[in-house]
């Protein structure tokens, strides 16, 4: 009997969509964390290789100006520490921690368009600088350009895949 691998049909997987400004940390081995359709947003994926804990943050903007009631997970400067903190709470040890990032594209490219926002670029800069403060260098990154990405993390294996609108998923 032919076995066709189909990631969505596999019944044992539970897909958790990480929406804009959300953050999910889980140690359920069947969980698949996913940020769908990232443009200038960035998915920060954290994984504990030994304890098999996975976490993903869908970061929208670089800086939290402290607007009351706004989610910390939305902003790079507060979301990254929050993600690391939640990972630690689940039992993650920094020594086994792997960080991968994807996203941060500049979608609105056009000759003569003054882009005053540069959200993607600024998101990435902020994330890298917060990680550097924690002495963490991302192990893999698929960032920039002007393409949308869908990112998935398989908590059982720690694999992170990136898919674009016109391409198939590939591991980073």
């Amino acid at each position: 009997m032919a076995v066709i691998f189909s990631e969505t049909a596999a019944p044992e997987q539970e897909l958790h969509v990480v929406g804009m400004g959300d953050l999910i940390v889980t140690d359920s081995p069947d969980a698949v964390l996913s940020c769908i359709g990232l443009g200038s947003c960035v998915a920060v994926c954290a994984y504990d290789k030994r304890e098999k804990i996975g976490g993903m943050a869908h970061i929208v903007l670089p800086q939290n100006y402290g607007i009351p009631g706004k989610s910390e997970a939305k902003y790079a400067d507060t979301a990254v520490p929050l993600l690391l903190n939640e990972m630690t709470k689940k039992g993650c040890i920094k020594r086994w921690l792997v960080i991968k990032i994807a996203g941060g594209a500049q979608m609105t490219l056009s000759p003569g368009l003054r882009d005053t926002f540069k959200t993607g670029e600024r998101n990435l800069e902020q994330i890298i600088s917060v990680l550097r403060r924690e002495n963490i260098t991302p192990e893999a990154a698929d960032t920039g350009g002007s393409i949308g990405r869908t990112v998935k993390m398989y908590v059982r294996t720690g694999q992170v895949t990136v898919k674009t609108a016109y391409g198939s998923a590939r591991e980073i």
């Binding site: 607007i67 368009l113 959200t119």
Partner: protein
């Protein structure tokens, strides 16, 4: 047109904003009419207040392919913003056919010609919309050159949505159906004022 009825359903505090957008979009379609050299009319218009995080779902989910025409708006310090017009790809192709006076279904992909036609749509709609807004508010507003994108809905919209999310969880969108006698096109407008918060 149900515009007035729609407005009645919106909070009193929001009437000005919603009415302004509605009239602005009407004006933008009038611009399109001049570009096409034929009468293009608004068939229906639906102004909705929606949760920002639900917006990609309105276009078939964050991974669905869409075509968006994006124009940045420049005004005085506090009047920066974005205007985005979103079409399903086949609808945008239909619009290109309509404007280039081709048979419906001739356009099947986004190449230079299609890109610049849609860019022109952005130009015309952007300036007509902003003219109306400028006239009404007394603010001088200028559109940037347009960017035309075809990619996943989430990706195309998130940098724009990010700028709304910085200060609000809700925004207005305007669903319109417009067209000539024999052809109709449906698109969604989003006009996003941007308080100087994120402009730096």
């Amino acid at each position: 047109m149900d515009l007035e009825k729609e407005i009645q359903e919106i909070d009193f505090a929001d009437i000005n904003m919603a009415g302004l957008f509605g009239e602005g979009v009407n004006n933008a379609i009038e611009g399109l009419s001049q570009m096409a050299g034929r009468e293009v009319k608004v068939v229906s218009m639906d102004i909705k207040k929606v949760l920002v995080k639900d917006i990609p779902d309105l276009f078939g989910g964050p991974e669905a392919l869409i075509i968006a025409i994006y124009v940045e708006i420049f005004g005085k310090a506090n009047a920066n913003g974005h205007m985005v017009v979103v079409y399903k790809p086949e609808v945008a192709f239909g619009l290109v056919d309509l404007l280039l006076d081709q048979q419906n279904g001739s356009t099947t992909e986004l190449n230079d010609m299609e890109n610049s036609t849609l860019g022109e749509v952005g130009n015309i709609m952007g300036s007509f919309f902003l003219n109306y807004l400028s006239d009404t508010t007394g603010q001088r507003l200028k559109p940037s050159p347009p960017a035309v994108m075809m990619d996943m809905a989430g990706a195309v919209l998130d940098s724009t949505l990010a700028n709304i999310l910085a200060y609000s969880d809700e925004t207005y969108i305007v669903d319109t159906v417009f067209g000539t006698k024999d052809r109709q096109v449906s698109g969604t407008f989003m006009i996003i004022p941007n308080p100087s918060l994120e402009a730096g």
